[in-house]
Amino acid sequence: MTEFSQQVVSGLASGGIYASLALAVVIVYRSSGVINFAQGEMATFATFLAWTFLHHGISYWPAFALTLAIAFAGGVALERVVIRPVEGRPVLTVVILTIGLLILVNGATQWIWGGATRKFPSPFSTRPVHVGSAAFSIQDLGIVGVSLASVALLTLFFRFTKLGLGLRAAAVNPEESRLVGVRVGWMLALGWGLAAALGAVSGMMVAPVVFLDPNMMQGVLLYAFAAAVLGGLASPVGAVVGGLALGVVLNLLGTYVSTFGGQMRLVGGLGVILAVLLIRPTGLFGRTAVRRV
């Protein structure tokens, strides 16, 4: 039982990382109707930026905040410059475009920082905390905390601020939003900015665990897609729940079923994607949404 609860918490930590990136994917999908295949690479790039700040002596939380700000700005700029021109073009064009971004950003990361693996510090100590006979890593708890905090902040933003309302409206009904005076284009850009920031959170949480290298987020992106699909591509709540659930399930599978150790978890993630898309494409929380163009 102790082992079980330890693995659950550990799984929640992984799940929190998946959930953050999944939420980023869903925000972009809801606002622009696009799956950003480069979301993971953008997160990696941001994490490398954070590494550079830390390397230059900036302490952790200020570096964290600075990275989020830059990631946000980058996301906004990306939407305005690269995505806006292809608004309305066929799905295939946009998918390939984001694949191009994936390749470009990954290459840029390697070009600037090289391919060597680096250590990335965690703001949380790796000491365990004992609850009864179980030992939980503070780092795991910290990751869960940060992930949930980001999600909570975002939820507050969407529900209680004017901008958040505008973004929600623009995502659902762009034409009617224009009539009310909402600058839909900038709302979309805001969405991409928030998504980029979320991705940066995800990257900075996972880097201490898997070590920082340019290909760090490829697996995480797969899990994020699985989580997003599981929760229903258009459901932010679903992405978070899906991410946490996926983290726990994959971790438990990895612990108790020997076939699923290590890299095979990727196959598990693929399995989830295929299973959901084939059996219940709208996911757990999605509705068969009619996208109004």
């Binding site: 309302l165 409206a169 009904n173 009539l179 009310v180 005076g181």
Partner: protein
Amino acid sequence: MAPPLLELEGVEAQYGAIKALHGVSLAVGEGDVVALLGANGAGKTTTLRAVSGTVRRTGQISFAGRPLDRSTPEAVARAGIAHVPEGRGTFGELTVRENLRLGAWTRRGRVRGEEDSVLARFPALADRARQPAGTLSGGEQQMLALARALMARPRLLMLDEPSLGLAPLVVASIFTILRGLNEEEGLAVLLVEQNATLALEAASTAYVLETGRVAVQGPAGELRADESLRRSYLGY
């Protein structure tokens, strides 16, 4: 004679390759209620869209003395025109209150109190303030659309087919509210309506469109009285 609040001169509009308006000219004065009538496909909705910038258009459009013909829908809303489109245009996934808050998007400063006073005018909505707009009945949604438009404190309200699909009693209450707004607040209204009787009762001036052009215009009373005109253009 004060210059009109809204003026269209030779406005043409097209959907892709299909031309829908072939030169429409009309004017709405400060505090006037103007009816835009005509058969299906005559271009009534397109005219409203031309004003709010949601269709490709050419020609001169000016509002409160400033040109509007190059403006985006967002800018038109900021200028003080509230367009309630066909089909209400409410945000089904957002609550009634959120819809209202959205309506005040172009306004700066506190709008909290506004929500309550607008809701006071529409008691049916007040009861459902926290419900998603999509769960409201057709009549309630039309009222919500109207209430949302009011939140922007517009100078001109453009309504597209407010009576569509609604029971006569509901339609009557909507028009009562409209009349109240026009009389108390001096709100100008450009009203597109299939139901010509209703429109002619509420309006002071009327324009009848036919295949993208203004066929007849004049005081609403005259149009109501002229039987042959009514029969040939409005079918009754």
